[in-house]
């Protein structure tokens, strides 16, 4: 195997481990850092899929914005000195077991399948310019809608925060 493959395996393992940690860890802050790890892994995968722009956006948005927002929520919503605890009951082990078994099953299936249907095709290269053109030529309406959505959601979030402050 080439070094590139080894790195790919590492990236994949990071992603899987991160997502598992995000779901299974007992403390929310660990879950959050699991999510961050998974996001980095996915960014790495995007690089392998020849979408470096997307990879960087992934980090910028998920790590730089969303996880920070969640971290904020963790800190604001738990009183600061109390660490919000997640499920640490036997349920956890049941769930972990379920996930592991399920994924093993899937993995076996995939490996069987992939040997049969290895496409061998090289991933497509999409440049940033092309991406921009797609956005502004063909997907103008969704693009605008998304911006509208974000604006609305920001206003909504502010309203929610303000509204609840009044109630207090």
């Amino acid at each position: 195997m080439t070094p590139g493959e080894w790195i790919f395996i590492a990236v994949m393992a990071t992603t899987l481990a991160g997502s598992l940690a995000a779901v299974l860890s007992g403390s929310l802050i660990y879950a959050l850092f699991g999510l961050v790890t998974a996001m980095f892994g996915i960014a790495g995968i995007y690089i392998y899929l020849n979408a470096p722009f997307l990879a960087m956006m992934q980090i910028l948005i998920y790590v730089g914005a969303i996880s920070i927002l969640i971290a904020f929520a963790v800190m604001l919503a738990g009183p600061m000195y109390l660490r919000p605890k997640e499920w640490t009951s036997p349920k956890k082990f049941v769930a972990a077991l379920a996930v592991v078994l399920l994924s093993l099953l899937v993995l076996v299936g995939i490996i069987m399948g992939s040997f049969r249907a290895a496409s061998g095709a090289k991933p497509l290269i999409v440049t940033t310019q092309e991406l921009g053109r797609v956005f502004l030529d063909k997907l103008t309406l969704p693009f605008e809608l998304i911006s509208l959505l974000i604006v609305v959601s920001i206003i909504g979030a502010i309203m929610l925060a303000l509204f609840s402050k009044e109630r207090k």
């Binding site: 493959e5 290895a118 929610l160």
Partner: protein, 108 residues
């Protein structure tokens, strides 16, 4: 030669996406706090995005719709996180905790 490389295999990407989806679903079901659920939701969204990009890279005919839609997903995720943050704070102020299962009274 490149065709045999591990990372040129579509199925592997799909597997990762599926795994993320599974993890996310489990999290949404079993997580007790709203924030935990939110984290799991993000995993699901990422799985979907990964799926789109992978399919776009391997089977689209030279267009970039998949990547574009992944970017849309990111936008939606950001919006969702903002809203969720608002809701979580509101819920916390209202109920004093953020445990989803314990929130019974939804009106007012």
């Amino acid at each position: 030669m490149t065709g045999n490389l591990l990372y040129n295999n579509l199925h592997l990407y799909l597997f990762i996406a599926l795994f993320l989806l599974g993890c996310g679903l489990l999290g949404v079901m079993y997580r007790r706090t709203l924030i935990g659920m939110l984290i799991s939701m993000e995993l699901i969204m990422n799985g979907a995005g990964l799926n789109l990009v992978a399919l776009n890279s391997f089977s689209a005919q030279g267009n970039a719709y998949g990547i574009a839609f992944t970017l849309f997903i990111m936008g939606i995720a950001a919006a969702e996180a903002a809203i969720a943050l608002g809701i979580i704070i509101a819920v916390f102020r209202r109920f004093g905790h953020i445990e989803g299962g314990q929130i019974k009274e939804m009106k007012g």
